[in-house]
């Protein structure tokens, strides 16, 4: 069976090196078909079988472009999420699927695709950068990563997160709940890229995609060595600043 991975709008969704997530999956799944769907093209998922839909970080105007392109496919996206299709939306890509994005400095308040009941506030002069460490139910090892973003997501706590932080902030500085999870949809504001930085998460995702408990992880030893080094550092209290914590 050939897996199909669809990368949405790579010509605009390509910031912060996050598309290495797909390069990594491609190396782990050399037979997988990688479909790169341009902004003015119809997504492959709209009418065909896709095993993983990926969207990476965008500029603020890029977010609005992506929303415009995906709104016509709202029902299909919902249907695919409910039926267990895998999605990975990293950094601010997740935000476009919420109810609204507000950006006072750039003077817009736009409806999102409306898949999830959360809203995003973008502050062009309030860029947050911080580390994150937390638990994801699919793997026993902690997830580690970085945030560097203008935006914060607000939602009710009932919307399940991708992970629960043990260090660092979640969707916003008042919650440990980070990202969004629904079935096999994962949305996270982590950048890094998250799969390379977390080979155990990559293994979970690949296991789920290829239905094997022991999927082939490309460059596994090197990825684990880098992960272990970072985890040691993240376990050191001295590496954490006061702003990298959830305020009550």
């Amino acid at each position: 069976m050939t897996l199909t991975i669809e990368m949405l709008f790579p010509e605009i969704a390509n910031l912060y090196g996050d598309n290495a997530n797909i390069d990594f999956l491609s190396r782990c799944l050399p037979k997988a078909s990688i479909v790169r769907t341009g902004l003015n093209e119809t997504p492959a998922f709209a009418s065909g079988k896709v095993d993983l839909v990926y969207l990476g970080p965008l500029t603020e105007r890029g977010q609005l472009r992506a929303i415009k392109r995906l709104i016509p496919h709202r029902d299909r996206i919902n249907q695919l999420i409910e039926s267990g299709t895998h999605f990975l939306f990293t950094h601010n890509a997740m935000e476009i699927l919420g109810s609204r994005i507000t950006n006072a400095e750039m003077d817009y308040d736009e409806a999102g695709v409306g898949i999830f009941d959360f809203s995003t506030e973008v502050g062009m002069f309030e860029r947050y950068t911080g580390k994150v460490m937390g638990a994801f139910e699919g793997v026993s090892q902690p997830i580690v990563g970085y945030k560097s973003q203008f935006s914060m997501v607000s939602s009710s706590p009932e919307i399940p997160g991708f992970m629960t932080t043990t260090r660092g902030i979640g969707r916003n500085p008042t919650t440990h709940v980070e990202g969004v999870r629904r079935h096999n949809f994962i949305g996270t504001s982590l950048i890094g890229p998250v799969l390379l930085m977390n080979p155990h998460l990559a293994q979970w995702l690949l296991s789920s995609l290829v239905l094997s408990p022991t999927p082939e992880i490309a460059l596994r030893d090197m990825a684990v060595a880098a992960y272990d080094a970072r985890l040691r550092e993240f376990h050191d209290d001295r590496t954490w600043s006061s702003f990298e914590r959830v305020s009550s």
Binding site: G17, N19, L39, M106, A226, A229
Partner: protein, 474 residues
């Protein structure tokens, strides 16, 4: 030629200069004198203190008749220096922050240095380098006559986010009376300003050897800004630098008013063309980066109504400041030292591309960790995937010695780029590679380090390699 908006004497430069501003200037001057007597650096300190005394000093201090601000991701320091030199050569009294801070405080300190104790401006022109992110704190009050933007490419993810953000910051801060000198080969830079601004463009003509297909991690202008269709590249140099057109709607890169031709291999001359008139020039430094900088200077001088022949003579006399780059033959091996500013994928990609351009069998010593970024908040290693490590997968590079705290991340990035893991050698020490790298059968060795470890690693590695190569021939 676009007409330069000439400031009205006695308007912005006189009446608002009150006692508070004068007191701020005095206090700023005293602070500067005290720092010099103490042998301290801190070129921004007089500006900071003066702004504390008079918060609107930037708009009220007496300024030269012409104020030029130079900004951009890369090349702003060199372009500032070249432009200040050029205007000095033309007999102008120039005030410039070439040795100082490019943030608001440093710019104010420079302007304070240019006025007398009575508050009168002593210079004809100010050439001020400005950090792009400082635009909102500088431009609305300063309202320069000319703003030169060299380019806007990806920079620190943490501080600069993405070039579209920086372009928005600059455009938001621009006065409609400021004339813009913009790089036409950078679609993002060329979008700065509005119809209110006088805008002139400069570029560097294609050699014919350029690709027409962009590649790499960071191409930030891939779609038409009007219709979102993919752009066609007439030539592509790196990142989003090149010339484009849209087949769907007819959009195209701006035509440069000032342009520099490729070098004539027979004469070693280039043509500097301004508004269809041409003069032959021989440049002191033929690197593409320098040619762009010279083109920016020429375009600015043209805007200041300097005659073409004079511009040609002046740009020929310009010598770029020494680069943070060394290239020498030692014991039959080319030893190259490259400052490779981590955190900035574009800069790292340029350094890697340079390695690839050098012929022969090569080894690379790589120590570009940016762990010191923790002291400024949080280190974020995402930048490594924004840099084109793929250049280092070339078979002409036989080994890459990686040292430092982030060696495992670097090794993974190299392997992801296609470097055979067997060719990657890891050392905890950033300098250990210089002790163990084989010197036989190698034509060139590259010592790559960052700013923060230039002395502790760059100097040490260079010294060790030099010593070993000298011993080899003795």
């Amino acid at each position: 030629m676009t007409e330069l908006t000439v400031p009205v004497p006695g308007d912005r430069h006189g009446p608002r200069f009150g006692l508070r501003a004068l007191a701020a200037v005095w206090i700023g001057k005293c602070a500067g004198l005290a720092l010099r007597l103490l042998g301290r650096e801190g070129t921004h300190v007089p500006g900071r203190i003066a702004l504390w005394v008079c918060p609107d000093l930037l708009s009220s201090i007496a300024r030269p008749d012409t104020v030029i601000v130079v900004t951009g991701t890369n090349g702003k320091t060199t372009t500032t220096n070249l432009l200040a030199d050029a205007l000095g050569t033309l007999g102008k009294r120039v005030s410039s922050n070439r040795a100082g801070s490019n943030l608001r405080d440093g710019i104010v300190a420079t302007l304070i240095g240019g006025v007398s104790l009575t508050g009168r401006c002593r210079n004809d022109v100010a050439v001020l380098e400005m950090d792009e992110r400082s635009a909102l704190r500088v431009l609305p009050q300063l309202a320069p006559d000319i703003l030169v933007c060299t380019n806007l490419t990806r920079d620190s993810i943490k501080r600069n986010a993405h070039p579209e953000f920086i372009a928005w910051v600059l455009s938001s801060a621009l006065s409609p009376t400021t004339a813009l000198v913009l790089n036409s080969d950078d679609l993002i830079t060329a979008s700065l300003g509005s119809d209110s601004n006088n805008r002139v463009f400069y570029g560097v003509d294609p050699t014919g050897d350029e690709s027409r297909e962009p590649s790499g991690s960071a191409v930030d202008a891939a779609i038409c800004p009007r219709c979102d269709e993919p752009l066609e590249w007439l030539f592509w140099r790196f990142n989003h630098i090149g010339s484009v057109r849209c087949r769907a709607c007819g959009f195209a890169s701006e035509k440069p008013d000032t342009r520099v031709s490729p070098i004539d291999s027979t004469t070693g001359l280039r043509s500097l063309v301004i508004n269809s008139e041409s003069v032959s020039v021989r440049l002191a430094n033929e690197s593409l980066v320098n040619v762009y900088n010279v083109a920016a200077v020429a375009a600015t001088l043209d805007l200041l109504r300097v005659a073409l022949g004079t511009i040609g003579s002046v740009v020929e006399s310009l010598t770029p400041p020494p680069s943070r780059f060394a290239d020498e033959m030692v014991g039959g091996v080319r030893l190259v030292r490259l400052l490779t500013k981590g955190l900035v994928g574009v800069a790292v990609s340029r350094a890697f591309a340079h390695i690839l351009s050098v012929p022969g069998r090569k080894v690379v010593l790589l120590a570009v960790d940016e762990t010191t970024d923790r002291f400024d908040g949080v280190e974020n290693t995402a930048w490594t995937y924004d840099a084109d490590y793929e250049y280092l997968a070339d078979p002409s590079i036989s080994a890459i010695y990686v040292g430092g705290v982030r060696r495992h991340d670097q090794a993974l990035r190299l392997a992801m780029a296609g470097v055979d893991p067997a060719r990657i050698v890891l050392n905890e020490s950033e300098t250990r590679g210089a002790d163990v790298v084989p010197l036989e059968g190698v034509d060139a060795i590259f010592n790559l380090h960052s700013n923060h470890n230039a002395a502790a690693t760059g100097d040490v590695v260079h010294g060790k390699l030099r010593t070993r190569l000298m011993e080899k021939i003795s």
